[in-house]
């Protein structure tokens, strides 16, 4: 056991599928560390704005605020989720991945894209924030044109990588090989959208035999299938917005002066939030529900409780996710009142139902299988459930015309809702997935230290809950989320939030050291070398990817 060699990790025994997954996982956790560092710098700056590296410069503070979600959401979360799903789809469908080469393209595009966006903010202080409210991203009186172009190219590369992931997922699901050799596309589509679950429920209520006793696709695959629809729509919207900004920036660079008001700011906001909300309220909630179901069944080794209801609920969540964007526009007086009421309040309310169902089904599956051993994956899963148990009701509270008037754009939104959802809810769920996949991806490599794993768990849990809570309390006292306070306002809450952020950063460092000590620096580097074994399956007879098989025919 050493820093160089790790515990018993042998990178040379890894298949192409394992290696490509691990490459993206490594990049994801490096980006996570960067996002955690950025977040901590901002929190510390709100305690003492004059400390380096921000030193009281609003432009520097907002540059960090702009890239923080790009690095955190895309560089880290997208990367980790995509990697896990490109491993899980072949594992769960018992078929090879469509293309390992495309999976490599995905992590490379997202890595390069996120790095470019970061460079644009670091070098040129390009800072329109992730919201890109029109016409701010094209405001060349405040921002450098080259910085803007580099930033938009970075985001575009991330979206191109995302489209690569989507193609790989669907091409794998629809491949007529292995167990699906005799399935029709229609059968796979019906199962993918959860319509079989709905028909099973209908037949049960009318006393008829089930439509399908053995659905073509397992429930976690259905969740990935469904969530990926939103991932696609979101990528198209962000790419569309990126092209619009890029066209204006290029026009400016060429000396032309185009009227930015040719594009209506409120209409653009609606378009952008419709797409962006597909990340927050679409793919995250659907992917998370699917991950909970998978984790619950893997941890317990039992069937999911109320599986048909879960399948139908995933279909409902997909439709809900397309119609909730107006809750971001409740403070926009030009937004039609009916849209605020129906989309912003009433349809959004359904998320309490769909996520509440997912929570209930997961808890019941675990409860029916007790006694269970409190493993790392179970511990993280429960913490993830807690995160969404806190963040989703917070969202429903603020998606209200009365409450939003005094909560919109405050630290409550970004703390009590967003960061609790992301850091406690999503990341705890993702860490659970990491611990479940660890033995499968590393060929049963022994973890260096369980004490370090536990230290990371508690530091992350307490840190994320604490930071979200203290930011939320400051928000209730009127603290805005997109403002650089420089006169010591809200100091007590900001000190407590900064301490919480530092706890999470320390937790991540402990996690990183534990992983490096397990796989070793040599093993870590070897992950990035080409795999000798081109196997793109897991748990079944080794087969190369569908693309390689077709080429060899």
């Amino acid at each position: 056991m050493s820093l160089l060699k790790g515990t018993n990790f042998e990178a040379s025994t890894l298949t192409a599928l394992q290696k490509v997954t691990l490459r993206a996982v490594v990049m994801s956790f490096l980006f996570y560390g960067l996002a955690a560092l950025e977040g901590t710098l901002m929190r510390v700056a709100l305690v003492n704005p004059n400390l380096p590296p921000i030193e009281g410069h609003a432009s520097h503070f907002f540059s960090i605020m702009t890239v923080h979600p790009i690095i955190g959401i895309f560089g880290s979360t997208y990367q980790l989720v995509f990697a896990a799903f490109m491993f899980l789809i072949p594992y769960l469908t018992k078929k090879p991945l469509y293309s390992v080469g495309l999976a490599n393209f995905v992590w490379l595009m997202i890595t390069i894209g996120a790095a470019l966006a970061w460079i644009a903010a670091f070098i040129w202080s390009y800072a329109p924030l992730y919201t890109l409210y029109w016409p701010l991203p094209a405001d060349t009186t405040q921002f450098n044109v080259i910085g803007g172009i580099v930033f938009i190219i970075g985001v575009a590369l991330i979206m191109i990588g995302t489209l690569g992931f989507i193609y790989n997922i669907y091409a794998t699901i629809f491949a007529k090989v292995g167990v699906h050799a005799n399935k029709t596309t229609k059968e796979l589509l019906i199962s993918g959208f959860g319509i079989d679950g709905l028909l099973n429920l209908k037949n049960k209520l009318t006393g008829k035999p089930p439509y399908s006793k053995e659905p073509a696709l397992s429930l976690p695959v259905v969740a990935i299938f469904r969530g990926t629809v939103d991932t696609f729509l979101d990528a198209i919207v962000i790419l569309g917005a990126g092209i619009l900004v890029l066209v204006y920036l290029l026009a400016d660079a060429s000396g032309a002066s185009w009227d930015v008001h040719a594009v209506d700011a409120l209409l653009y906001k609606n378009f952008f939030w419709w797409g962006l909300d597909l990340v927050a309220d679409g793919l995250v909630l659907i992917y998370v529900a699917g991950s909970w179901y998978l984790l619950a069944t893997l941890i317990t080794g039992q069937k999911l409780f109320m599986e048909n209801v879960a399948r139908a609920a995933l279909l409902l969540e997909l439709f809900v996710s397309w119609m909730v964007w107006s809750h971001h526009l409740l403070a926009d007086q030009g937004q039609p009142e009916m849209m605020k009421l129906i989309s912003g309040e009433m349809v959004t309310m359904f998320e309490l139902l769909t996520q509440g169902l997912a929570l209930f089904i997961t808890l019941m599956t675990l409860w029916k299988a007790r006694p269970l051993k409190m493993t790392m994956e179970l511990k993280y899963l429960l913490a993830g459930l807690l995160g969404f148990g806190l963040a989703v009701p917070a969202a429903i509270i603020q998606a209200d015309m009365g409450m939003n008037r005094i909560l919109h754009n405050t630290q409550w939104i970004i703390g009590a809702h967003v960061h609790i959802a992301l850091l406690t809810g999503l990341y705890m769920t993702l860490y659970s997935v990491v611990y479940v996949l660890w033995p499968l991806l590393t060929n049963n490599t022994k973890l260096f230290s369980m004490k370090m794993a536990n230290a990371h768990f508690w530091l992350h849990l307490i840190g994320s809950l604490g930071m979200g809570a203290f930011m939320g309390m400051a928000g209730l006292d009127g603290m805005l989320r997109r403002h650089f306070y420089m006169d010591g306002e809200f100091k007590t809450f900001m000190i407590l939030a900064a301490i919480s952020a530092i706890m999470m950063l320390v937790g991540w460092l402990i996690f990183l050291i534990n992983i490096i000590m397990s796989v070793g620096l040599k093993g870590l580097l070897e992950i990035f070398l080409p795999a000798k074994d081109d196997t793109a399956t897991f748990g079944i007879e080794p087969q190369p990817s569908v693309v390689v098989s077709q080429r060899n025919k």
């Binding site: 432009s59 409120l266 807690l386 405050t410």
Partner: protein, 189 residues
Amino acid sequence: MTFETSVELLKFHNVAYTVYAMIIISVIAWFAYNLTLEKKAKPIVRIPFYTYIGFLVAMGVGHHIFTYNTIPWVSEDIMRHNITPDKTFQIKIANHTFDMQEKMEITKGEKVLFDAHSTDLVYGFGLFRQDGTMISQMQVNPGSKNDLLWTFNECGEFDVRSTEYAGPAGNSMFVKKAVIVTGCDTKGA
């Protein structure tokens, strides 16, 4: 039950959400503890599935019904196009600067319309008390209507701050004591 000001509402919200947070944390902790016990714990309460679903729907819908009936600015906001304000203030925003009446003087209980226009970027228009707590706010989009109808149920001097990011230059969009509300008795009521 009616919340006259945002302070009253936020105090209630703070207590209610904290109680909820404590309950959900306790439930998950209790659940985690019992999950590992050899001896199977008896559930404290049995909640039938459809009761749970009914509870979620009731909470989701009930929350909006509750706020509509207890927060005065909800119905006022929805119906503002049919309400004639007692006073209207024009607010123009451009180049990260507020252009408005130097002191907006209001009497307690008056319905006031803040009619804001931006000619360049997306800004915000927020009213804040001297202790930093928020009274109300809206987004100010260029090219569309941004009208906030508000009834002041409290007296004092209030600041105006942009509540939306419009580039680093917007960080200083702050006007101290721009709004003065008078007409309260000596106890402030």
